[in-house]
């Protein structure tokens, strides 16, 4: 395009001609973009926080099941012996720790009441390296070594069953062969996680006790070896999840095993990411609207003031494309200054709260079921910035095109007649 320089200069000077109007527009743009940048960072920080809490609370980054268990959730679909897998899991890069569990649904009866429960037989030592379940103890204590008939249950469940520390609990569940087995446990601890499924349903027992109770110990031992339903893996980071899934699936191919990622395990995870996507789209739509409304308003006002001048410029031989370019420049300048300022403000706020955290504990009870911790650390990602920038540019384009197109189409003779 010819003479870009002069139209850039004209654009700047025309904006400077109305410092108050231009300043207000820039400020409004900046505040809008800053708020949306911060909201995006909040959202990303939140999602990261939820993912982390979700994974570390119980589920782990990856789980290995016997094929079919994910559909049936029946204990008959278990892994009979994990010893052949051990060396690979211990040596695989990207795995921080791993443990084994037996998961089965059953019935808990105490003196006063019964309730459906989710029994989880865990390895007391290794579990602590994978999940945070031990951190949630609110009364009593974690399992001691070689403690056979101990159980730790969710606090809501304890209330429902009207049991406390030291009380007896009878657990009933179906063994792999279909027989209903029951066993007596004594409550040694109560946990409060804030996650409904855990607090309402979870009943932890030592893995060895679970194997003996349900007949899953390999013959001739006290439950140290034998069947499990889940191998739970904590990866070094989220970035390792997909590579690990691939490498483990390949390593264990042909062994009737299934390697599942955290998001494959809980359908809620899928919904979160859809929710996050929807939120992102809403934010982007708002960015476009903010930019559009602000810039369009200013540009139309500025155009109205200058119809005669456009006519004059046209009469002097300024081409339609050049008038178009001049107005587009003004839009670009407005959006660049406002957007940059907004990015700086929003980025600063995100970085500040990213470092020190934003305390939302007043609202935390409402959110805790979503694995959300009450202190949010906004996270400004490159993707988030790029999306907002893109949306701002789209908004500016739409807002700039209309006035520029109108100016370019003006007939000089007609425009000159306007007062």
């Amino acid at each position: 395009m010819k003479h870009v320089g002069i139209y850039l200069r004209l654009g700047l000077r025309n904006l400077w001609l109305h410092p108050a109007r231009t300043g207000l527009t820039v400020l409004a743009l900046a505040v809008g973009i800053a708020a949306l940048t911060f909201l995006t960072a909040m959202n990303d920080g939140w999602m990261q926080n939820i993912r982390e809490n979700f994974v570390l609370t119980e589920v782990g980054h990856l789980q290995i099941h016997a094929r079919g268990f994910e559909q049936s959730h029946k204990i008959r679909d278990h892994i009979p012996d994990t010893r052949p897998l051990k060396s690979r899991l211990d040596s695989e890069p990207g795995i921080l720790a791993w443990t084994e569990r037996i998961r089965v649904s059953g019935l808990a009866s105490a003196a006063g009441a019964n309730a459906g429960v989710l029994v989880s037989g865990i390895d007391p030592l290794r579990e602590r390296k994978v999940s945070r379940l031990a951190d949630f103890i609110s009364q009593g204590r974690w399992f001691g070594l070689d403690e056979a008939h101990a159980t730790i249950i969710g606090d809501v469940l304890a209330e429902r069953l009207e049991v406390g520390l030291g009380d007896k609990l009878v657990l009933m569940a179906a063994a792999p062969n279909g027989d209903i087995m029951s066993e007596v446990f004594r409550v040694r601890g109560v946990i409060h996680s804030g996650v409904m499924d855990i607090d309402n349903l979870l009943t932890l027992i030592p893995l060895a006790s679970a194997r003996k109770w349900l007949g899953m110990a390999t013959a001739g031992n006290g439950g140290e070896y034998g069947g499990v339903t889940d191998i739970v893996i904590r990866a070094d980071s989220f970035a390792d999840v997909n590579p690990l899934k691939q490498s483990l699936s390949a390593a264990f191919a042909g062994q009737d095993l299934e390697v599942l990622r955290w998001m494959d395990i809980d359908p809620m995870a899928e919904q979160w990411s859809q929710f996050a996507d929807a939120y992102t789209w809403i934010v982007l739509a708002v960015v476009i609207l903010v930019v559009l409304a602000e810039v369009l308003n200013t540009m139309l006002m500025s155009m109205h003031d200058r119809i005669r001048e456009f006519g004059l410029m046209g009469a002097l031989g300024t081409g339609a494309m050049q008038l178009f370019a001049m107005l587009m420049w003004e839009t670009v300048i407005l959006v660049c200054i406002g957007g940059l300022l907004g990015f700086v403000m929003g980025g600063w706020a995100s970085a500040y709260y990213g470092e020190y955290g934003l305390d939302l504990s007043r609202f935390a009870t409402a959110f805790s079921f979503m694995y959300m911790s009450p202190i949010v650390h906004p996270q400004l990602t490159f993707d988030g910035c790029a999306r907002i920038l893109g949306a701002a540019i789209i908004g500016a384009m739409i807002a700039g095109l209309y006035p520029a197109w109108k100016a370019a189409r003006l007939e000089p003779a007609v425009a000159m007649r306007e007062i």
Binding site: W16, L17, L312, A315, G317, T318
Partner: protein
């Protein structure tokens, strides 16, 4: 820079008139009434003319000037400027034609308000591709020529009405056009300032040979013209030297 150097006007172009207007008509349709603004305009304008287009308000002066300046198109007729059939030009070609061949002076709002006097004059030169130093030098020369030495950096709103019109004259002449079209250039000026502006343009016409066509019903302007074209009801009814 002059159009006659570009080969568009042949040697015989100098013998033939600069403007040949034949049966130009222009109708406006505004709210059911049809206004005949131009009703068969015929005239020739010679190179080097300094002509005043006079006539009552509404007689069609501005309409004619807009058509001669390729800012508007007639409904019928023929128009030849500098040996070119300008009615055949596209919108973009007309913008280019104006840039290369025409100078304009309007009644008011002649200047781009965010540009200084010097930049306003240099603007058309820049559109024509004249290098920066060269166009600023030309602009200053022309501003001095119209008596605005020392005011080159002022913005339009820091200049009087008469000074603004002088900047417009400098701009119209700086690109050495074939013709300068001026529509009521003195209408917003007091009679003394208006007369001075007319004398300035006439002096430039005599010194440089630039052709001027000035629409005005201002007696001061009419007196200054070497030639008078009288318009009445969309027609040129009289053309005589004075």
């Amino acid at each position: 820079m002059n159009a006659s150097d570009n080969g568009t006007a042949s040697m015989e172009g100098w013998d033939s008139p600069l403007i040949q207007a034949r049966d130009l008509s222009r109708h406006f349709h505004s709210s059911q009434v049809e206004v005949v603004a131009l009703d068969g305009v015929n005239f020739d304008l010679q190179h080097g003319a300094f002509s005043v287009l006079a006539g009552r308000s509404g007689s069609g002066k501005t309409t004619l000037l807009n058509i001669l300046g390729t800012l508007d198109m007639p409904d019928a007729g023929a128009l030849n400027i500098s040996g070119r059939d300008v009615l055949k030009l596209s919108t973009a070609e007309r913008a280019d034609f104006r840039l290369m061949h025409m100078g304009f002076i309007f009644q008011a709002y002649n200047l781009i308000r965010v540009l200084s006097a010097r930049e306003n004059v240099a603007y058309v030169l820049q559109l024509r591709g004249v290098a920066r130093d060269e166009r600023l030098r030309i602009a200053d020369t022309w501003l001095a020529e119209v008596g605005l030495e020392g005011l080159e950096s002022r913005r339009p709103d820091q200049l009087s009405g008469g000074q603004q019109q002088r900047v417009a004259v400098a701009r119209a002449l700086a690109s050495e056009p074939d013709i300068v079209l001026a529509d009521e250039p003195t209408a917003n000026l007091d009679s003394h300032t208006g007369e001075a502006l007319m004398q300035l343009m006439r002096a430039l016409n005599e010194k440089r040979g630039t052709t001027f066509l000035i629409a005005s019903h201002d007696p001061v302007a009419m007196d200054a013209g070497k030639e008078l074209l009288m318009m009445e009801d969309g027609r040129i009814v009289e053309q005589h030297r004075q």
